[in-house]
Amino acid sequence: MLPPHSLLLFIAATLAGALNSVAGGGGFIAFPALLFAGTPPINANATNTIALWPGTMASVGAYRSELADSRTWRMMLPLFLVTVAGSLAGARLLLRTPQMTFMRQVPWLLLGATLLFTFGGRVTRWVRQRAGQRVHASRLAVVGVAALQLLVSIYIGYFGAGAGILMLALFAVMGMENIHTMNAFKTVLASCANGVAMITFIVAKAVVWPQAVLMIAGAIVGGYGGAWYAQKLDQKVVRYLVIAIGAGMSAYFFWSR
């Protein structure tokens, strides 16, 4: 790893950690930085997952009080089971994907994640506002929810950017009402899925360790800094910044194909 690359990766991971602690979307910076530093795309994705995982785990701690209700845990149990299976499948799928095929998907994946970031929140709000009387859903409807979560977690194992927004939308569709509980379970499920993907990548030796260690350190520094500034920053401005970075990165990778 050349010194300019080390510096680029550390700065990118710091910014990514900061963004993730404020609005999410750190992957839009960390993953392209790994590509710019010459990491092959699949290894870049695996390394990115590991670099940003400690940050997600840290935010689970922040939601302790929201995670105390055992009834919600019982309702969520099937989702945890499919999350483990799905993220394992997604990570293995990534490892079996030819590097060139994945590289061709990168601009589309970035574009998709940017669109999720831009419109996902609006869809969730819309569903919550229009929700009719909550009715008792059939078992098959629960299977339907599990199937959707399975797809989301396959996506987390495979790429994952913007998946948190997908889960919030899914919880809204399921009729969950408390936004704090929704955020808490989104964070726990995302950590669980990314954790499973991370172990899969480590076992398959897909991680480039010097870069990973450097980025974990950067992300932790950025995460603390981000949390410190989070109260002072306008969330909206940060969100626009994330959308602009996502759109810029997608445009760049479309252009450079």
Binding site: L93, R96, T97, P98, M100, T101, R104, Q105, V127, R130, A131, G132, Q133, R134, V135, A137, S138, L140, A141, V143, G144, V145, A147, L148, L151, I154, V173, M174, G175
Partner: protein
Amino acid sequence: MPLTTTIGYVAGTLTTVSFLPQLIKTWRCKSAKEISWVMLLAFALGVTLWLVYGIFLGSAPIIVANTATLALVVLILVLKVYYSFHGKPEN
């Protein structure tokens, strides 16, 4: 573009577009009762596996067509789940 790839894209476009009328109908009627759960779930799983197969092969027509089909099937599945948990939405 080679003939094989062209046929792949035409096939993919047709099978994908065929799901659009169902999505529009489900959205307009605000009901997905008439769609079978088993059919929908099996179809979603089938399309997902097609997508995985396409990624393994690195075949663009299979990847593109099945990603688009999966997106439409997922939207129908989301509507069906939504109407199962909420009944009809308030207008």
